[in-house]
């Protein structure tokens, strides 16, 4: 529902109020932030607009960026962050870097010291423009009140156009206090910025020709499919030409998991067939993905037999890792729409059967025991599998980083686009809890579950305070193995079981939750798991479920460092 606005065009306002008005003009409704000295005028201006802008007070600025990321990833809108100068601003950096590598649009607004103090090592002065430069898509420092609205509209345009990313606007305190006549001219182009190349028909024709000649074509879908809302077009292409589809970690939920053409998830701990058969396809069709090293394994042994067709919006990704025989630059949805009529219908029973065979092997060797183990202790996969069944695959799942993340990505089947939120490229432990807060803010009527490990949970555990204060009914499922499990797995496999600082002595998480007035339950026995998961699922308010799992479980399959995708091991 459109909220009623009171925009003060052509009236004199402070720079701080111009910030707030610009956000309203950019259709912002939610802000994640933390006040401090240099951003006080903006917070003061916000005080008058609390009926139009919902601000969530996080417990650490890093949490604000992750919350904004979670918000953006499920809502499709840019996430907005407020922080003060100095430590407030530097605390944003991890989240900004995460958003940069995972192409998530964020607009971060930081307060800065008075402009006459710039460069004097003033109290809480940091060169945040300099510090954030390598991890932002764009950033700017504003020292005059009249430059605020143009900078903010430009920030939103850059963050959300083309390949999205985080931007930062640093505003000095005198610019916030100064007076300006408010005006908002929406930025819709920049003469030196070319975000979305027009799809070239010749490239589309070349792609169609390769696909039509292919016997064993194979689609890898990435985050770009979700970002351009090309799910339907991808489905139509796969169905028309009978092409198997695998997903990257960030592409999860772009293709229906129950579809017979969906073959699984790619990468170091992905499914067996999708990795192995990369080296057997004859045409590899990469859509909105960037051949991350977790996907390719050893690049010198990656899909050498295949012609590569790369659909990509960012020209810098073409030939960056895997050379493309045909590159189709531009928006994935637009490109796939142009491609579809040029692609011939086909049936590829034998090729698809290979994936089914691999899938059967993986089920026998890995999955069957993982989801229905005869071990005494609980295993992560059975927890996720059970929760998948309870939620019918309809929940928004936000994961942290580590073994639980890989297990969730393997065993939860996402029925709806943008229902998987995770930190992919940066692998940021501590991402999960605050990102789930943001996701729940974006979709208050959906079931949002943060699946966390005991390590990552404690990196941003203070965000339980945000959940308490803002009544955010996010569900928290902690898979506790009392280890930094993924590092421990590597120590076991590659460092001769020398468990150097990976064992965790953990607090009583339920007591901590109680301190934040959050209901909680701890499960150690299999017989209690189903009911506890159901209780968490049914809870109308935030709920913490700690499940104590096997300490030394390893995630398989696995492509070890330096190995080829065809050398994926099952045990």
């Amino acid at each position: 529902m459109e909220k009623k606005r009171h925009i003060k065009y052509n009236t004199e306002v402070t720079g701080a109020e111009a910030v707030i008005l610009s956000l309203l003009d950019a259709n912002v409704t939610e802000i994640f932030g933390y006040p401090g000295g240099a951003i006080m005028p903006i917070y003061d201006a916000l005080y008058d607009y609390m009926d139009k802008l919902n601000h969530y007070l996080v417990r650490h600025e890093q949490g604000a960026t992750h919350a904004a990321q979670g918000y953006s990833r499920v809502s499709g809108k840019p996430g907005v962050v407020f922080a003060t100068s100095g430590p407030g601003a530097t605390n944003l950096i991890t989240g900004i870097a995460d958003a940069q590598i995972d192409s998530t649009p964020l607009v971060c607004i930081t307060g800065q010291v008075h402009s006459h103090l710039l460069g004097t090592d003033a109290f809480q002065e940091t060169d945040v423009v300099g510090v954030s430069m390598p991890v932002t898509k764009w950033n700017i420092q504003v020292t005059k009140p009249e430059d605020i609205a143009p900078a903010i509209t430009k920030a939103f345009y850059i963050a959300t156009s083309g390949r999205p990313g985080p931007v930062l606007v640093d505003i000095t305190k005198d610019a916030q206090f100064g007076k300006t006549t408010y005006d908002y001219k929406k930025c819709e182009s920049i003469r030196s910025y070319f975000p979305c190349p027009k799809v070239n028909l010749e490239d589309v024709n070349a792609a169609a020709e390769l696909i039509n000649k292919a016997q064993r074509p194979y689609i890898l879908c990435g985050h770009g499919v979700l970002l351009s809302s090309a799910e339907k077009q991808l489905l139509a292409l796969a169905e028309k030409a009978d092409i198997p589809v695998a997903s990257t970690l960030l592409g999860l939920s772009a293709f229906p998991p129950s579809h017979p053409l969906y073959v699984g998830y790619l990468g170091m701990h992905g499914n067996y067939g999708p990795n192995l058969l990369t080296n057997e396809c004859d045409v590899l069709i990469a859509i909105g993905m960037r051949f991350d090293d977790r996907v390719t394994g050893n690049v010198s042994k990656y899909a050498k037999q295949a012609k590569v067709v790369h659909f990509e919006i960012d020209p810098a990704e073409i030939n960056k890792i895997i050379p493309a025989d045909v590159a189709v630059l531009g928006d994935a949805k637009e490109a796939l729409e142009l491609l579809l009529p040029k692609v011939n219908s086909a049936k590829r029973k034998d090729w698809l059967q290979k994936f089914t065979d691999c899938s059967n092997v993986e089920f026998e060797k890995v999955i069957r025991d993982a989801i229905d183990p005869d071990s005494e202790k609980l295993r992560m996969a059975e927890v996720i599998d059970k929760f998948h069944k309870i939620s019918g695959g309809n929940a928004i799942i936000v994961t942290d980083v580590g073994q639980h993340q890989m297990i969730t990505s393997r065993y939860y089947k996402f029925n709806h686009p943008n229902h998987s939120v995770t930190s992919g490229g940066l692998g940021t432990m501590g991402f999960g809890l605050p990102a789930a807060v943001g996701a729940k803010v974006a979709k208050p009527n959906e079931q949002v579950v943060a699946v966390l490990g005991d390590g990552g949970f404690q990196m941003t555990i203070q965000e339980l305070g945000t959940i308490m204060q803002s009544n955010i009914a996010v569900k928290i499922l902690v898979l506790n193995n009392n280890f930094l499990g993924m590092v421990r797995q590597w120590q076991q496999l590659f460092f001769d079981r020398r468990y150097s600082f990976t064992e965790m002595k953990n607090p009583d998480f339920i007591t901590i939750a109680k301190g934040y007035n959050i209901k909680g339950k701890k499960v150690t026995e299999r017989e209690n798991l189903q009911d506890a998961l159901q209780e968490m699922y049914n809870s109308k308010e935030a709920f913490l479920l700690e499940v104590v799992v096997e300490n030394e479980e390893n995630v398989f399959p696995m492509i070890t460092t330096g190995a080829s995708v065809s050398e994926i091991i099952l045990e």
């Binding site: 950019a26 259709n27 912002v28 499709g76 809108k77 840019p78 649009p105 423009v129 300099g130 430069m133 390598p134 898509k137 764009w138 950033n139 420092q141 939103f156 345009y157 850059i158 959300t160 156009s161 083309g162 999205p164 182009s189 920049i190 003469r191 030196s192 910025y193 070319f194 975000p195 979305c196 190349p197 027009k198 070239n200 970002l227 351009s228 809302s229 960012d314 020209p315 810098a316 073409i318 030939n319 960056k320 928006d331 949805k333 637009e334």
Partner: protein, 184 residues
Amino acid sequence: MNTTYTISVFTEDKIGLLNRITIIFTRRHINIESITASEIEVKGIYRYTIVVTVSKEQVEKLVKQIEKQVEVFKAFYHMNSEILCREIALYKVSADALKENELFARIVNENHATIISVSPEYIVVEKTGDEREIQNLFNELEKFGMLEYVRSGRVAITKPMKTLTSYLKEIENNNKSTVKHFNN
């Protein structure tokens, strides 16, 4: 195989942009051999000339990463054979050189250099040329006692006739962004 490439970057006039561009090199552990910046024939557009010695694959990737930056219009890379390039160097030599006036004057003339200042303590010589010519003069003047020596970075003009403005028109035509991903 590594080759010397001259990268020309056309940008907006914005604080910090040069830093954004140099980060692309430092992040990849690539040394910038020289860098110069100046306004071009079009007002408000700046040109950076950057010299690096890298492989062809590396220079292609560098140029794409540079072009990816908001507020960069276009970047090109050229081999030495595709450009005309010059540097300027200033040599401050001890005034003792005047004791061998004839030899000194001959070296300056033969190297197409100019004496731009003479004082009781020193003489300043200016030379425009390519890196090799500038180094040659340095080698010859060194024997007179080199007090100070400074070189500009390389500036370069490309031999191909295509102008920046024609590239910009091309980009504009290829960039009819009708697609909206986000509502704001």
